[in-house]
């Protein structure tokens, strides 16, 4: 008995893997999430051929959005060539007939784990972020019913208090990723574990962003041209990571979010986290004609 005889042939599965009722439910929840920016919508997270916690939330949203005309890009911590990213991209393409790409500019749907691409996204693009924990209040209120009530009352005092405590104890805000942010002046969301560097990219962005957590069975959205404001005290400005001066050791570009590569001698070198941007820069340096889009950060400063 072989494995192929035990598995269902691809032709027997629904288009886009999920059945029609699952996609209908997700579409309804996605529309609701767009209607109430930043508000978490519960949904019946389905089984997909991937373990929970590996991007099943993002995958379900992508499978609901995808069609044969779509071009899908999947990144994992900024890289297109990670095993998880490559597997998800191939799977989406296989069950939907959508094209695959590494190029941010050519993608219509970008599914991402923990990064927003450096190139500015357009109105016709959708960013789907995989979210491990969609609840910003989890750290201050473990009871989900009470947390829901706190969202309803916009009761974010204790969230602010954790930031106050970090300033008191450490002299600076220690929240490195998943920085709590106020969406449309109403709901506080956790923008998935994207670095602080990426949070300003969501503010008044042209593209639509979905943030979906398959294990937690909830999704929320940031519609185009919506305010996303990180929670900061009026006299302690929001600070992104100090990557402005770092130079990518492979592509030579600077002023973007970098991955730190520890060296044997104890020092560190850096590579640009958005691997597609790095590859484009290398190819351009080699004399190829490569289209690099406008980036959110220019010279290390946010300028969108």
């Amino acid at each position: 008995m072989s494995l192929s005889s035990l598995t269902k042939p691809w032709a027997a599965t629904s288009y886009g893997f999920l059945d029609a009722s699952a996609k209908r439910e997700l579409r309804r929840k996605m529309l609701k999430a767009i209607a109430v920016p930043g508000c978490q919508m519960p949904y019946a997270s389905r089984e997909v051929p991937m373990a929970r916690g590996w991007g099943t939330g993002g995958l379900q949203v992508t499978l609901t959005l995808v069609n044969p005309a779509s071009t899908v890009k999947v990144i994992d911590q900024g890289a297109d060539d990670g095993v998880n990213a490559a597997s998800i991209r191939r799977f989406i393409s296989r069950v939907s007939g959508a094209s695959e790409t590494w190029d941010t500019l050519g993608a219509s749907i970008i599914q991402s784990r923990h990064r927003v691409p450096e190139e500015t996204l357009r109105e016709d693009q959708i960013l789907v972020l995989q979210v491990p924990n969609p609840e910003p209040l989890r750290g201050v209120e473990p009871n989900m019913s009470i947390a829901r009530q706190m969202h309803a009352d916009a009761d974010y005092g204790r969230l602010w208090l954790t930031l106050y405590e970090q300033l008191v104890r450490k002299g600076r805000i220690m929240q490195g990723a998943a920085y709590p942010s106020l969406v449309n002046g109403r709901h506080v969301m956790t923008p998935s574990p994207i670095p602080r560097w990426d949070v300003p990219k969501l503010n008044m962005a042209k593209h639509l962003t979905f943030l979906s957590a398959g294990r937690e069975k909830r999704l929320h959205a940031v519609p185009p041209y919506t305010k996303v404001e990180p929670l900061v005290f009026s006299d302690r400005p929001y600070r992104v990571e100090d990557h402005q001066q770092l130079v990518c050791r492979r592509s030579g570009i600077a002023g973007y979010f970098m991955n730190e590569i520890p060296q044997d001698d104890g020092s560190s070198s850096f590579e640009v986290s958005d691997s597609n941007l790095g590859i484009k820069a290398i190819r351009r340096a080699e004399g190829e004609t490569v289209d690099i889009g406008q980036t959110w950060y220019r010279g290390g400063e946010f300028s969108a």
Binding site: Q149, A152, D153, A154, D155, G157, R158, W160, L161, Y164, E165, L167, V168, R169, F233, S234, D235, R236
Partner: protein, 273 residues
């Protein structure tokens, strides 16, 4: 000894309050928990700047009454009004949850008998005070620090320990942090639920001194619930005696303690003496 429950003399006021409009008015408050009637048709009036003491045995409805004043619970029937400069006169029990929360954050402070109910033990003492300011909308870190420091100082809390966690503090210090949190926004009404119970006598005296000084300097209106008649006698201008969910007697503190009318009050005062 049989107790006649029918006696309920008319409330008396100190002369300076005779012409004053009440700050807090509760009328016809009733609340049952299953078969237990915690409050039965209770009427309470509190005037600006006074300390109203509420006494009674355990289970008499004192804490239920205080929870109602803090809008933590809703009665089966009854009316609750607070005369505040920026608010329309309305029954506060008709407000939604959000409005209640904001009203309490701005205008009502509370000190619980158990500090765990009023404090976040994992956060700093100054953070506990700052939380109240954050709920009220303050977003400047420097202002939060300075207001928290002022409130803790007013509560006679040692400022060198303002960033210590309440879990690391003594019971008396925890009560001072609660007090600082309660007065941080200069509330119109300060509710004190057995604030000195469980403290030794010397610490009790210090906490009461702080409360008296706050009342004298800031003219904060207080409702003090206690079953310790000594505490009530020290602090209160007027006293309300409760039994089985009913108000059996109320009047000026001196009068109630020196010439109690209701047999239960007589029993209470003599038991104390």
């Amino acid at each position: 000894m049989s107790i006649d429950m029918s006696v309920s003399p008319a409330p008396l006021l100190p002369p300076q309050l005779m012409q004053t409009e009440a700050l807090l008015t509760m009328r016809g408050l009733s609340r049952s928990y299953g078969a237990v009637r915690a409050l039965r048709n209770v009427d309470v009036t509190v005037y600006p700047g006074e300390v109203m003491g509420v006494v009674g045995e355990s289970g008499s409805g004192k804490s239920t009454l205080l929870r109602m004043m803090n809008l933590e619970d809703t009665p089966d029937r009854g009316d609750y009004r607070l005369r505040l400069p920026d608010r329309d006169d309305c029954n506060l029990f008709d407000l939604g949850r959000y409005q209640r929360r904001m009203l309490c954050a701005h205008h009502i402070g509370i000190v619980y008998q158990n500090p765990h109910l009023g404090l976040l033990m994992r956060h700093s003492s100054s953070g506990n005070v700052a939380e109240r300011l954050l709920i009220a909308g303050e977003r400047s870190f420097d202002v939060l620090r300075s207001k928290a420091r002022d409130a803790l100082d007013a509560s006679e809390f040692p400022l060198a320990r303002m960033d210590a966690r309440p879990a690391e503090l003594s019971g008396g210090m925890q009560q001072r942090v609660q007090l600082a949190k309660a007065i941080a926004l200069e509330p119109a009404l300060l509710l004190l639920d057995e604030p000195t119970t469980g403290l030794d006598v010397s610490v009790q005296a210090l906490v009461l001194d702080t409360l008296k000084r706050l009342q004298r300097d800031r003219h904060i209106t207080m409702v003090l619930v206690s079953h310790d008649l000594g505490v009530i006698r020290t602090m209160a201008d007027r006293v309300l005696v409760m039994r089985h969910g009913e108000v059996v007697e109320q009047g000026l503190a001196d009068q109630v303690f020196q010439d109690p009318q209701h047999p239960y009050t007589q029993q209470l005062v003599h038991a104390k003496l």
